[in-house]
Symmetry: C2
Subunit: 489 residues, 2 copies
């Protein structure tokens, strides 16, 4: 039995917009971020979009080497981002998880990190959409296991894929996105797209789902994230998830994540909130945010989160939640184009709670079943789209090969030899590009199928449980492990 205790956790979260060469005033912002973290002494600082430069065999993040190693001693002038690490006497650890460019996840902990791992989302956009950058970043979720006074804390940090957003529209429609504003970053340009297909979600009523090619990808990522948390946190006493989800609170992916994992939103639960209106984490007051970025949400959007839960036997509450409001904490130039979240959480011992599904019966599970079904349908639409692309590119490849054959015949003759040779290059290019697109969409169909299979399985379990009545609850979500834990204690 674990000791009776109370624990305070101070958590900092920020999407740093830290892409070398592309983000504005990066060195200055990182320096000020480091100074601020030094001053405040958070327990955990969870950062996203921290650009990594691969300069040899070991990529480094400022003065930090990748992989939770202690910071090498360097001269202060060597790198402006050295200040990210507060030089306090407590054991500080940093790590960064990476994709092709690097997923940009980075964590600093005041407490020793016991274990760490990472899961890269299987659907990460398309490599041929270079201007979106998602595939190259390798969006991921990182897990750190900390042991604090006998309590097991699983901390997750993630950055979920963006929508095609401003670039998609700007480049596609040739309007709106001036080249001066084309910055490589993962803000939520979702807002830029007009029209919507998500009927239930008023926030998105005016979006065009047809333009947001990554919607199904984000739902799939949300499900993968939820599953990763579900399966890796079964021994954890407290679960903490911070990051840039690139989803509004009522978006399908966000609801799916919360329903499946049982995580609660610090903004909705906090006893004391101070910061931007409605907890927005991208606000027009921020000088790095243009109205174009916010689109139909001129007052701001909330896409960065602190989510948490404790298993039965423990109780977690958010005492205070602060956000920056378009400036840095001291009122100067902002630290990023996103606003920082600063939460003070308290974990306490509590008597085991009664099993909610036993007391409330099957009706209690309806929101979960409903969101699972909705996600299943959404992924089905993504699947249809992916299948359309595989069929289309399959035809293009066939026609391209036929055309190449024709060109060979023409080149062998004398009539149109030069024209045939000239057309050879674009034809080969067409076939190659179509082949690559075909392959990636084929992989996409498999990923959608896999996620749908898992969702379908869970829906079936839910239906079985409903047929059996409230006396035989299924292992339907994390509530199950809370019940198990309650039994043990």
């Amino acid at each position: 039995m674990k000791p009776n205790f109370s624990l305070r956790l101070r958590v900092f979260n920020l999407n740093c917009w830290g892409i070398p060469y592309l983000s504005k005033h990066l060195a200055d912002r990182l320096k000020r971020l480091g100074d601020f973290l030094n001053m405040e002494s958070f327990d955990l600082a969870l950062l996203e979009e921290v650009g990594l430069c691969s300069t040899g065999t070991e990529p480094s993040l400022g003065g930090w080497q990748l992989g939770a190693v202690r910071p090498p001693v360097r001269s202060p002038k060597e790198n402006p981002s050295k200040h990210i690490l507060p030089p306090t006497p407590t054991p500080q650890q940093g790590l960064a998880f990476s994709g092709v460019i690097g997923s940009g996840l980075c964590v600093f902990s005041k407490h020793p990190i016991q274990e760490l791992t990472q899961h890269v989302y299987t659907l990460n956009g398309y490599p041929y959409m270079i201007h979106h950058g998602d595939w190259f970043c390798g969006k991921a979720v990182g897990l750190l296991v900390l042991h604090l006074s006998g309590l097991v804390l699983n901390t997750y940090v993630t950055h979920v894929g963006e929508t095609n957003g401003a670039w998609g529209l700007g480049l596609g429609a040739g309007a709106g996105a001036g080249s001066a504003d084309l910055r490589w970053k993962d803000r939520a340009p979702l807002a830029v797209l007009p029209g919507s297909r998500i009927g239930q979600d008023l926030l998105h009523a005016e979006y065009s789902r047809q333009k947001d090619i990554y919607l199904a990808h984000r739902v799939a990522q949300a499900w993968e994230l939820a599953q990763f948390i579900h399966h890796t946190s079964k021994k954890a006493d407290v679960i903490l998830l911070c990051g840039d989800l690139n989803m509004h609170p009522k978006d399908l992916g966000c609801r799916l994540l919360k329903e499946w994992t049982g995580l609660r939103d610090a903004f909705l639960e906090t006893q004391d909130f101070e910061g931007s209106e409605e907890g927005y984490t991208m606000v027009p007051k921020n000088c790095y945010v243009s109205q174009q970025d916010l689109g139909p949400f001129p007052v701001g959007i909330r896409i960065d989160y602190v989510l948490y839960k404790a298993v039965s036997g423990f109780y977690i509450s958010c005492k205070t939640l602060k956000t920056t409001t378009g400036h840095d904490p001291s009122g100067g130039t902002p630290l990023s184009d996103h606003e920082a979240l600063m939460a003070t959480l308290y974990v306490r011992h509590s008597p085991p709670q009664p099993n909610p599904s036993l007391t409330h019966g099957p009706a209690e599970r309806s929101p979960l079943v409903s969101v699972l079904r909705e996600a299943w349908t959404e992924l089905g639409l993504g699947l249809v789209q992916a299948c359309w692309w595989t069929t289309f590119t399959g035809y293009v490849i066939s026609l391209g090969l036929l055309f190449l054959l024709l060109l060979c015949v023409l080149a062998a003759g004398e009539g149109a030899k030069e024209a045939a040779i000239l057309l050879w290059t674009p034809s080969v290019g067409l076939v190659l590009v179509a082949g690559a697109i075909y392959l990636f969409h084929l992989q996409e169909t498999k990923c959608f199928n896999k996620a749908r299979a898992e969702l379908q399985h869970m829906l079936r379990k839910a239906r079985e449980a409903q047929n059996l009545g409230p006396e035989s609850p299924p292992a339907l979500h994390l509530g199950q492990q809370e019940r198990d834990r309650a039994e043990e204690q």
Copy 2:
């Protein structure tokens, strides 16, 4: 506290060599496999390399739809593989996990599957090495959670990447692999490669590590597999891993997996073994196996495994282990080019065991530390190789672009216009191919770095623990969770 009980588990494992159009006598073999499974009524049948044909929006495996759904009622003539599912009255469930072509993992369970998920390995070979097929398969590990009489059983099924083996040598050196023998499958042609760099491993002494381009990939996959099991099994009472690891028992990846997870090898632990010599799962007697496949191991190789462990409070033992011996179980044509494994396991309640690391002290951890260090070094060599490729392809891209510029200049003039136009196509192709190779090796470096960072972290924890002495053991491997469980019970 869970009830005192004893549980028998009958497990079947087979790499089915079930690639449509490419594997010999597939329909017949699958039919006989189904008949056999019907007759024997195993608790779990874990199959690898079950080819999936995507024929629309829902891929199907014989009469089975993807995703643990019940089998649709079909006429017996519709598909020869329908027999894979034994039509017993108990709830039978099947599922398949997929990659681009499909990872080919497939599980049939007599007991209801509570939860399921999948993790695709981040390093899966290279897409441009089409003839190896690894990247297209998307090698993965699948997890099924079963609840049996109150016991939580985590079953993992996996297929780890092959070596470049026979094809690599055959196609590379232009010798040995006749086109008639070029079959698309994941056997372990490792054995074909002469010469080795793994000094410690006598089995591999004669291999050429330089030729086995996937060695580091398999070590990385083994680490990912071990980490996946480690992090997702913390609440499990019994852990079972079956599959084609494509590694010999003393290979680095195999040792890493066993040391990190604490899994034990059924072949080494069984009370009663019946089958092929040394438990080989590819034997020359099998008519689908050529001597070329076995290379320097003419008597056979053991690359398929049943591994298991129970946490403290439970005891698992292997009563019998059988393998087929180059024929099907009734002495006919074999079911696959691999041999099937059939294990009868018993799980019993047992008093919590004393903490091994507390009784044995830091020296006990040496094999683990040693294998972690070895893996870290191996991945470092893979990393160097990957960096070399990024540098090389970087140069090729630069030179290719310069050459294209030169061709443009020549084409603008009159002197060598036709030659310039003719050279345009191969040059563009070269740049595109080099670009793709560059990107994939860049991603590879990130994956190696990530795995090495995790290994480095664990090594540091181990060193810290050794400095602190045996009184403060680190959370170094699954032993930790056994200790926690022991404390709770």
